[in-house]
């Protein structure tokens, strides 16, 4: 009787997970295996698919453009990361303050940009930064400055993309920080105030350490999201000027879908996957997973 029940439960288990497992296998695990397979071929997405051994990888380690795209992606990530973490943290602290009267309206408004698609985020910010008739250049000009070529200068173009990316993610990370702040036990603050701790001391000795796990989570999420920035760029520079804002994911897509080198693109994808995983791993190790030592 007992074993009969147990068996029935195993069957029910498999039936319940079947839809997810099948779809996940077909559209995630299979592509994962295929990308390993493709990376040893010269597959062009159409008819040709010959085994060419490690040639793709041989080509890849000599591909200057690959290193440039990867380097640009790292530069962009490192430049944007501090803003991605600190700005939402400060806004969350402001919006958790007891002294703010319009708290929930404030949270709603800060969150709204997070609702837009990356493409529309790019377009919205691009519209403010266009070289001619853009609002930002108009303000610069009106106050006597020289308008900037936001789209033609590689550094400025990268700045605009980073600005857009930060604008769009602030609300989401703010909400995560608010969750973290609300989880800090109130008696810690009471004890601190009884001990005569000043506002700043409390902030640096209680709030910041208690938020370490949340900060780690936000850092990890923003790193990955910055490394794979793609759709947003399509609304701003489409990778230009030249290849100056072509980050690694766009580099893979260009190889795969525009130049029809599915095999080569798969080899790059695998390498990038490993690099991303290593970065996440080191972040995890460095911060002890956000736990305090």
């Amino acid at each position: 009787m007992k074993t009969h029940h147990a068996k029935r439960h195993v069957v029910a288990f498999w039936l319940f997970i079947a839809p997810c497992l099948i779809l996940f296998s077909v559209f995630f695990l299979l592509p994962l295996i295929l990308s390993v397979g493709f990376s040893f071929t010269n597959y062009d997405g159409w008819k040709t698919m010959d085994f060419i051994g490690l040639s793709n990888y041989g080509e890849l380690i000599k591909d200057i453009k690959f290193y440039q795209a990867l380097g640009r992606t790292f530069g962009y990530t490192l430049f944007s990361l501090p803003f991605k973490v600190i700005v939402p943290l400060l806004i969350a602290l402001l919006l958790c303050s007891k002294r703010v009267a319009i708290k929930s309206l404030g949270r709603t408004m800060v969150y709204i940009p997070s609702l837009l698609s990356s493409l529309v985020v790019g377009i919205t910010i691009n519209w403010m930064f266009s070289a001619e008739y853009g609002l930002v250049n108009y303000i610069i000009q009106s106050s006597g400055g020289t308008p900037l070529e936001w789209a033609l200068n590689p550094r400025l173009a990268t700045f605009v993309i980073s600005f857009a990316s930060n604008w769009a993610s602030t609300g989401f990370y703010m909400v995560i920080f608010i969750g973290g702040i609300n989880n800090i036990p109130a008696d810690l603050y009471e004890a601190a105030s009884i001990d005569g701790s000043s506002g700043l001391q409390t902030f640096f000795h209680i709030t910041i350490p208690m938020l370490a796990p949340t900060t780690f989570l936000v850092t990890l999420l923003s790193t990955v999201n910055l490394l794979k920035e793609y759709a947003l760029v399509q609304g701003i520079t489409q990778g230009g000027p030249g290849l100056n804002t072509t980050f690694i994911i766009q580099f893979i897509f260009d190889k795969g879908f525009n130049q029809m080198q599915y095999g080569y693109a798969s080899a790059i994808s695998l390498l990038v996957m490993i690099i991303f995983a290593l970065i996440a791993y080191f972040q995890f190790k460095l911060s002890n997973g956000g736990e305090q030592k």
């Binding site: 439960h9 029910a12 288990f13 319940f16 997970i17 839809p19 997810c20 779809l23 996940f24 077909v26 559209f27 995630f28 592509p31 994962l32 295929l34 493709f38 806004i91 402001l94 919006l95 303050s97 002294r99 703010v100 009267a101 708290k103 309206l105 404030g106 408004m109 800060v110 709204i112 940009p113 609702l115 837009l116 698609s117 493409l119 529309v120 377009i123 919205t124 519209w127 008739y133 108009y138 009106s142 604008w167 989401f172 909400v175 995560i176 608010i178 969750g179 949340t214 794979k228 759709a231 399509q234 489409q238 893979i252 897509f253 879908f257 599915y262 695998l270 996957m273 991303f276 956000g290």
Partner: protein
């Protein structure tokens, strides 16, 4: 004297909140007002916040370009995709939680699903498109829906939710003679409502905003989703600004309205649903 210092204690944080909030929505407000300016005014100085002469002509043009067809396609993708996500991830999360003592390898299977969060989907897009074509789903809305409906986030949320419900609930239902499917649909599913609402909102937003797969999979213009239609106003010779402004505004309206109605679930759900740190 005391009163005024107390007032200023409340005043400055509230003032800064107002400044931050206004700055955050300003780019959207600027975009919305711009979309009602005539083309001549869009490209002439001085720039003004409000249109000197309001016009809906850009909207008329975008609608003439078949925008409502794209809206329909996006709605189909978002609604059908969300329904499938809710059904399959609640079933999967439920099974991973409830049968954890009956089936010894539930954690192993959960671990396989977790790969989905460890590996960014973008690095698998190339072979994914090959699979979609092989299945005959190229240029088919299902080729955009089926690959994305399994979300690890969804499975995770439901698993957490059902782990928090005592197994004795399930036992009681079984003793009352309900079979496994009945137990799930009649007893347990209603207990998962809060996860359902949060996931429904997020899933709808994700699908509405999906970009990469629709761009690569949908080749025929009448099958485009809104995002792809917007992208098409960015041409080789530059951006068709007057149209793209109107199209962008129209694409964000439904999602912002939905958010304002359901925001309690989003902000509450996010900070309560395991994303706690």
């Amino acid at each position: 004297m005391k009163r005024s210092s107390q007032l200023s204690k409340v005043f400055w944080p509230s003032f800064w909140t107002f400044v931050v909030a206004a700055a955050m929505v300003f780019p959207i407000v600027w975009l919305v007002f711009s979309s009602f300016k005539q083309t001549g005014e869009l490209f002439s100085y001085p720039l003004r916040m409000f249109p000197t002469e309001w016009t809906a002509s850009h909207y008329a043009k975008v609608i003439n370009d078949g925008f409502f067809g794209y809206v329909f396609n996006s709605l189909f993708l978002a609604v059908v995709g969300t329904l499938i996500t809710l059904v399959i991830s609640s079933m999967c999360g439920y099974a991973l939680a409830i049968y954890r003592f009956d089936v010894s390898y539930t954690n192993l299977i959960f671990g396989i699903f977790l790969l989905g969060t460890l590996i960014p989907g973008e690095t698998l897009t190339v072979p994914q498109v090959a699979v979609i074509s092989e299945l005959g789903l190229y240029n088919n809305i299902w080729g955009v829906i089926l690959p994305v409906v399994t979300t690890t986030t969804g499975i995770f949320m439901f698993r957490q939710q059902y782990l928090s419900i005592p197994l004795s609930f399930v036992e009681a239902a079984r003793i009352d003679g309900s079979n496994e499917a009945q137990t799930f649909f009649h007893v347990m599913l209603p207990l998962g409502t809060s996860s359902t609402v949060t996931l429904a909102i997020f899933s709808f937003m994700w699908r509405w905003n999906d970009y990469i797969l629709p761009l690569l999979v949908l080749s025929e213009q009448r099958k485009y989703t809104i995002q792809i239609a917007i992208k098409n106003y960015i041409g080789f010779n530059g951006v068709d600004w007057s149209s793209i402004l109107a199209a962008s505004v129209m694409s964000m309206v439904p999602i912002i309205i939905l958010f304002i109605i359901l925001q309690r679930h989003i902000i509450g759900g996010l900070s309560a649903s395991g994303i706690k740190g």
